[in-house]
Amino acid sequence: MHELSIVLHIIDIAENEAQKAGAATISEIELAIGKLSTIEPAAFDFAWKQGVKNSMLEQAGRITNYIDGKGRCNLCETEFLMETLHQPCPECGEFFSEILEGKELQIKSLRIEEKIKN
């Protein structure tokens, strides 16, 4: 279950950044997760529920954008939708390809609520 470990990493980064920015709360977090990143959405959702308890993300909304895998054939340079890492080039059948997109594991943004000094 590396999803939980990923969730804990996300919490660490988010809390750290929120505190640096002087946030009182985090109201929303936006994530980008590549479909070739080994994260299982169902396992991730489950890990999220467990992981965020007692953290600044407990009440935060979560927007998760799953990014399609995109490969480029090393032989004929065709770019194609990559659903698995062992998918041949649709043009020439070559297995040797470069992954252009789909490996993302990023925190895009945080929406925070700042305290305002009067």
Partner: protein, 265 residues
Amino acid sequence: MCITCGCGTDEAHIVKDDHGHNHPEHHHHGHNHSHSHGNDHPHVQDRLLHLEKDVLHENALLAERNRGYFDAKQIFAINLVSSPGSGKTMLLERTLNDLKEDFSFYVIEGDQQTSLDADRIKATGTKAIQINTGKGCHLDAHMVLHAVQQLKPEENSVLFIENVGNLVCPSMFDLGENQRVVIMSVTEGDDKPIKYPDMFHTSCACIINKTDLLPYVPFDMDKAVENAKKVNPKLQIFQVSCTTGDGMDNWYHWLKEQVQRLQSA
């Protein structure tokens, strides 16, 4: 929080032995920051922080640090990964015994519990250190950094890092190794590479172990090699039996070549 590296680990710790000191400050965790819901500050302002930050950024930085250390000392570091029980420790035991005249070896053992594997390695006369990851299912660069600080591998040595038996999670965590080597055994089925493609994709060599059992299990070697090559056409494949020693020479040859290449660069 680790002061040296500024990153947190879950509950991993280095197992204490005769001449090591462990780091009890790494046992911590749990996110119990309390936050009061402002009854006395009615003025709050909404703000969006654009981070675009990689979740594994800290690990990547520490991996680069490890890599820099290995480079500077010309240490050849191998991250050895497989499912539980494919034969990682046995491959090491045999390799360490057979090549002890050729290289100076060091081993970092990663397991959730016990120091059994490190004990097996020490029995070969090799310096080894055990990391217990607790509930953690993989090693990360931070754990390796501290293990290396204690192990103090000498220049021009070969460092094996046996990861926790798991074909999924360790694939995401760069340890700073020169090469990642994945082991599968013939009792696991010839479809392993396409079921767990990430690990085969990120490795440079694949050892297919337990070939002595081929007469007893339905395992199609050609199919296995084909599946592995689909996921990673560059993969070097070695068919071995760690029990009988069959095929080990090819693996040794490759290892020597790799170390020479690094150390003459």
